[in-house]
């Protein structure tokens, strides 16, 4: 028997799928929140900022617990989800997507805010004085000028989504072939004494993470003018 026949690659594919979806969500909602935080003044801005940072400092078990309470089968949110999608959220791979979002969003939003704030306001003012709406200015001026910074953040965000363990195991569980992501599978392999599987999976995720970080660096170091 060769090595690959005994190794179940499902956790890797699941992890990649979860991380991809999470990255899409984080990029959309996160960029919006980062724009609001960087360009708007409103009451409660600091509170919003603190709330966004909170997942960064709370233990994963606490976050997982909140999610179970908020999105569990008896909660209003959980019931709404079940009514719309026809299945509960908790202990599905979709719950792992939520967990991954929670893991990567705070860092993405904080860094994206800094990137958006670094765009010279004079370009935005110029667009406004030419008559461009805020929406148009965002799409045609702000976003293109922030694109390089944001795309390197997107890569980081994807890499971070791959790595969530604590919240995932709390809300998605450890169901092989259904909700078992790579990091959970590694935990499982070590627990059950399957050292070879653990070693292979550890090497794989390390290689993927390294490749991602390396490519993120390539993006940031690209010569001026090529990304935008």
């Amino acid at each position: 028997m060769n090595a690959s026949s005994t190794i179940d690659w499902f956790p890797l594919w699941l992890s990649l799928r979860v991380a991809s979806l999470a990255t899409v969500f984080v990029l959309t909602a996160g960029t919006f929140l980062a724009y609001v935080l960087s360009h708007k003044t409103f009451r409660g801005k600091n509170l919003l900022d603190a709330l966004i940072t909170l997942p960064l400092v709370l233990p994963p078990t606490v976050l997982g617990y909140y999610l179970l309470v908020l999105a569990g089968r008896v909660s209003p949110l959980g019931r709404l989800y079940e009514a719309v999608f026809g299945q509960p959220l908790v202990f599905t791979w979709q719950a792992a997507v939520v967990a991954a979002c929670l893991h990567s969003a705070p860092i993405y939003i904080k860094a994206a805010r800094a990137v958006l704030e670094a765009v010279d306001y004079r370009y935005e003012w110029a667009a406004h004085s030419l008559g461009a709406s805020e929406w148009r200015t965002f799409w045609r001026v702000t976003l293109p000028l922030a694109l390089r910074g944001l795309s390197s953040l997107a890569t980081l965000s994807f890499a971070r989504s791959l790595g969530d363990f604590g919240v995932t195991i709390m809300v998605a569980g450890n169901i092989p072939g259904r909700t078992q992501t790579l990091s959970v599978a590694i935990f499982d392999a070590v627990e059950s004494g399957n050292g070879r599987l653990a070693r292979v999976l550890v090497l794989v995720i390390s290689a993927v993470a390294l490749a991602l970080l390396w490519s993120a660096n390539l993006v940031t170091r690209a010569p001026r003018g090529s990304a935008a």
Partner: protein, 364 residues
């Protein structure tokens, strides 16, 4: 005819690197170029930003034509997108990720009104042509020189057919030759657009070259506003005269006044100086004698003594663009050409001739 009328009050709280500041101005501008002239930190750019709508004044009202852009009492604040103010920023703010043509196209697609497709294409080409940008249309701003960027920025705002133009130190960082060509472009634009143009500058020569009217600004307030020549030839206060830097100023007293002959006599630094009649002043009034540096002629001292001449010690002499700048005691100065300077070389004291018509008096 477009005109601007703005009363602005804006307080900025003290920040780490700047003390508290209050802007309090009443500005009126007709079509033509009105220069906001003053040292940096006097509130010139803040005034522009309030008019453009980037900043919201605490109090006041901004009218362009009869349209209210801002009214604190009524709570009106038209967003900058709807004000149609063409704004030229200090560094031009051309979008760096777009070519020159795309920069113009961006403005055109927003302005929208003047048709699309072929019509728009023709109009952009016309503008590119006018500003000598046709060959550069495909370039990104970073591939342009300072003067080219400036023309592109001007072309971009003209696409939108602005109701007023706001220019924030547009020639900063340009050499003399490029300045001249920008002045020519701007004059052409003024004649073509017939809208009020506010020009922020701290460059005296630029004021002379371009401005139809001048508002002298310091510490958030207008010291004097009016037609250029009236401001420069009749500064309203000693402060402005000093600040314009083109005046020789000294304390003086009125010794004689003769409305019949339209003459007056001032006693200044122990000399008697004849000047034009000074309406509104009385014998014995104390104040300041002023004469523009460019009106003063200089000669080697001789023993003759006559009216309107004074002999002063030379403090310093330096080459300047128009010849030699000679600094005298009492902070007097004069500029002479190279040729005029030759016979003066080596003299420690020189004689200054002051034409009577150029004498100006500012009351204390």
């Amino acid at each position: 005819m477009n005109r601007i009328e703005a009363r602005l009050v804006k307080r900025l709280p003290a920040a780490q690197d700047s003390p508290a500041f209050e802007l309090n101005v009443h500005l009126e501008a007709q079509p033509g170029i009105t220069a906001l002239f003053g040292p940096s930190g006097s509130g010139k750019t803040l005034t522009l930003n309030c008019i453009a709508g980037f900043m919201r004044p605490d109090k006041g009202r901004i009218l362009v034509d009869d349209q209210i852009y801002f009214d604190a009492a009524a709570g009106v604040h038209v967003p900058p997108q709807q004000r149609r103010c063409g704004y030229i920023f200090q560094d031009h703010a051309l979008f760096p990720h777009m070519t020159v043509r795309d920069n113009l196209r961006f403005a055109a697609s927003v302005a929208g009104s003047k048709g699309r497709g072929l019509n728009q294409h023709r109009r952009l080409n016309e503008l590119l042509e006018t500003f000598e940008l046709s060959d550069l249309a495909g370039r990104k701003p970073e591939q342009l020189s300072g003067g080219q960027k400036q023309r592109a920025a001007l072309a971009r705002i003209l696409v939108t057919e602005p109701r007023i133009l706001l220019l924030d130190e547009p020639t900063r960082g340009l050499d003399a030759r490029l300045r001249e060509s920008f002045y020519a472009v701007l004059r052409k634009t003024r004649d073509r657009l017939q809208v009020p143009i506010l020009l922020v500058t701290h460059d005296l020569e630029e004021c002379f070259e371009l401005a139809d009217s001048v508002c002298v600004m310091e510490r958030g307030a207008f010291l004097q506003c009016g037609l250029r020549d009236s401001v420069f030839h009749k500064p309203a206060s000693l402060e402005i005269a000093r600040w314009l830097g083109i005046y020789n100023v000294a304390p003086a007293e009125i010794e004689a006044l003769d409305p019949g002959r339209n003459t007056s006599r001032l006693r200044m630094l122990g000399y008697e100086i004849d000047g034009p009649y000074l309406p509104g002043h009385l014998l014995g009034d104390r104040g300041y004698f002023c004469v523009r540096q460019s009106e003063v002629t200089v000669s080697a001292p001789d023993n003759g003594k006559s009216h309107n001449q004074l002999v002063l010690n030379v403090v310093d002499r330096n080459p300047c663009p128009r010849g030699i700048h000679i600094a005298f005691e009492h902070d007097f100065a004069a500029v002479v050409s190279e040729a005029e300077y030759q016979p003066l070389r080596g003299h420690e004291r020189l004689k200054l001739h002051i034409p009577a018509r150029a004498v100006y008096f500012i009351a204390k």
